[in-house]
C-alpha cells in the first residue's frame, strides 16, 4: 500500500467517522421532543 493510499484511507474513514459521531452526539444529547 502506498503512502497516498494510507493518506486517502485515513482521511476518508476519519472524516466519515467524525461526522457520524458528531451527528449521533448531537442527536443523543438533545432534550426529549415533548420537553422542547
Amino acid at each position: 500500500m502506498t503512502i497516498g493510499g494510507w493518506i486517502v484511507m485515513t482521511v476518508s474513514i476519519g472524516s466519515v467517522v467524525s461526522l457520524l459521531l458528531f451527528c449521533l452526539y448531537r442527536v443523543f444529547t438533545l432534550p426529549p421532543i415533548d420537553k422542547e
Partner: protein, 546 residues
Amino acid sequence: MVSDSPSGVPSDTTNTTLSKPVRAKEHWGSRIGVILAVAGSAVGLGNFLRFPGQAAQNGGGAFLLPYFISLLVLGIPLCWAEWTMGRYAGLRGFHSAPGVFSVVCRTPKARYLSVFALLIPLVIYMYYVVIEAWCLGYAFHYLTGGLMKGNDTEAYSSFFSNFVGDSKDGWVFGGGRQLLAFIGVTFLLNFILIYRGVSKGIETFCKFAIPMMALCAICVLVRVMTLPSDKVVEGLGFMWNPDFTKLKEPKTWLAASGQIFFSLSVGFGVIINYASYLKKKDDVVLSGLTACSMNEFFEVCLGGLITLPAAFIFLGATVGTFGTFGLGFNALPNVFAQMPMGQLFGFLWFFMLFLAAITSSLSMLQPVIAFFEEGFGLQRSGSVSLLGIITLLGSGFVVYFSNGLKAMDTLDFWVGTFLIFVLAMIQSVIYGWVFGIERGAEESKVGAHIRIPHAIQLLLKYVVPVYLGAIFVMFCKNDVLSSKDADGNHKPGYLEQIYNDDVAFMSLIFIGGMTCFLLAMIHVAGARWLREGKFETIEALKGENI
C-alpha cells in the same frame, strides 16, 4: 376538510377521511427511530458490494474525491430537500406521493407527476425481495455447511447458478424450488412488519437491525484485519491506492455521482414518505445529516475495508473485474471457505446483507401502502393484502424469467436506475422552482438543531438540476444507446436489447402496464380527494405567505 388551522396545518389527531372512521394518524415513535429507518432504507447491498467495485474500477482512493464532492453537492442537499418537502406535506394531511406532490406544488394536477414515486419502490421491491431471499438462503447454507466448498471457484458459480436459476427460465419452479421457500419467508417477514405500521413495524425492526448489522460487519472486519498483516496491507492497497490519472476521465465522475445518488436513496420516493410521518417540531436537518452519515459509515468504512481487501487477499487482482453479484455471491463465498472460521463469518456476512436488504425493502412497501390507505380509505389489512397480491405477481415474473437474470436486470435498469434519475430531476426542479428555496429554507428551520447554509439552497435551485441533467445525459449516452467499447467492438445499449430480447421487451411492457395502472389509481384517488374536500388544504396554501 382536514385543515384546522389558518395555515392549513391540521392537528396530529385529525382523521384523514370523512367517509369512515380511521385509526389515529401514524408518527415515528422517537427521534433516533426515524433516523435509523431512513438509514436502513439507504444501507443495502450496494454499500457492501457495489461501492468497492466502483472504487476499484475508477482509480481506487482517487475515486473518493469525486465521491465526496458528489455527496456534498448532490447527495446531502437532495436529502434535505426531500425531508423538508415530506414533513411539510405530512403536516397538511398527506403521506402518499400523489398527495405530497399536490401539496408541495399547490395544485391537484401535480399528483400525476408522482407516478414514478409509486412505481419505483413498487417495482424495485418485486426484484429486490428475490435478492433478499438469496442472502437469506446463503446465510442458511452457511449454517448448515452447504457453502464450504473449498477453493474451487467453479463450485461457487455452479451453486449460485443452481440456486437462482440463471441458466434456464422457470428453473426455480422446477428443480431449483428451494429458493421459493426463502422467497416465501422473506415475503412473509416483510408483510408482517409493514402490517404493524410505521412505528411498531418499521421503526422497531430498524432499531434492532441497524445495530445488529453494524455488529455483524464489525465482527467480519476484525476477522479480515487479523489475517496475515502483509496480505491485509496488500488488500487494502488494492482498494485504496489512488490512481489520480482516472480523475481526468468523465466516467469516473459519472460513476461517483451515480454511486452517491443510488446509495442515499434519493429519488426513490421513500424519504418523502418517511418524512411525512414527522411531527411539526421534529428536526429535519440534523436527522437528515445523521441518516446520510450513517449510510456513509456502512459504505466507506465497512464496505471499503471488508469486501475488496478480503477478496483480494484470497483471490488476487481478478476480483476487480467482478460485478456486484459476482463479487457478492461467487467471490466472497470462496473467500470465506478459505478463511479460518469461515463458516461462522460467512453466516454473519450474509445475515448482515439480509438485514440490510430487509430494512431497504420495507421502505419500498410503505409509500405504496400509504397511497392505498390514503387514496382509497383502505384499512391496513386491505392495503397489505392488495399490495401483497400485486408484488407476488411481479416477483413471480422476475423469478420465472431467471435465465441470465434478464428480467431482473431490465427492471433494475429502467426502473431502478433510469427512472430514479427522472424522479430526482422532477423533485429537484419542484423544490427549487415550484416549492421555492425561500419556503424550503423557512420550513427546514422549524425544529432544526443545525442550520442549512443559504448556499445549499442556491445549490439546490441552480446547480443540482443542471448537475443531475448532465449526469443523466452522460448516463443515457453510455448505457441506453449502443456504443463501441475500448477495443472498437459493438456494445449493445439497453434500448437495442428491447428489440432483440423477448424477456427485455416483456419487462418493458410490464413497466408500462404498471405505470398505466398506477396513473389510473392516482386519478381515481384524486377524484375521491376532490369529492371529500381534502384538496381544500391546497386552496388554503395558495394564500399562505412565507
